[in-house]
Assembly symmetry: C2
Homo-oligomer: 84 residues x 2
């Protein structure tokens, strides 16, 4: 099972990296962009085929390592069953 | 229109950050994880409601700023029309 975990700064937390990217985009001509949030994305290949168990494992990985839940939110997406 | 851009190292490029995360997950008990690829995720709020135009703009932003296309691939997802 493949999965994607996306980690973003929490809405109420300032995102200076996103703000800098928005400024850089505006300077090179993309003034249409109102807001950018910059986060991390992890694509994981799990040796687990049960969706429930994969979701539980991924949530545990996020809580323990992938995200800092004091200042970050995470989102888990299950992408595909391996060898399907 | 909101959109998400995901930028990953190209498949043929080594991903030391992903490898380090995989090692760290294994050490804290998540031996099920076969592979991790570590990338960046950008959530953009565009002042553009036409999906075709939004896609074109986002591709141009990726080529010019968000991704280094020599070593990275990008993926664009349109998420929702604003105020819908």
């Amino acid at each position: 099972m493949k999965a994607r975990v996306t980690v973003y700064p929490r809405r109420e937390i300032l995102d200076p990296q996103g703000k800098a990217i928005r400024g850089a985009l505006a300077r090179i001509g993309f003034a249409e962009v109102h807001e950018v949030r910059a986060g991390k994305s992890f694509e994981l290949d799990l040796g687990v085929d049960d969706a429930q168990r994969a979701g539980d494992l991924l949530a545990a990985m996020c809580e323990k390592l992938l995200a800092n839940t004091v200042v970050e939110d995470y989102e888990i997406e299950l992408l595909e069953v391996r060898n399907a």
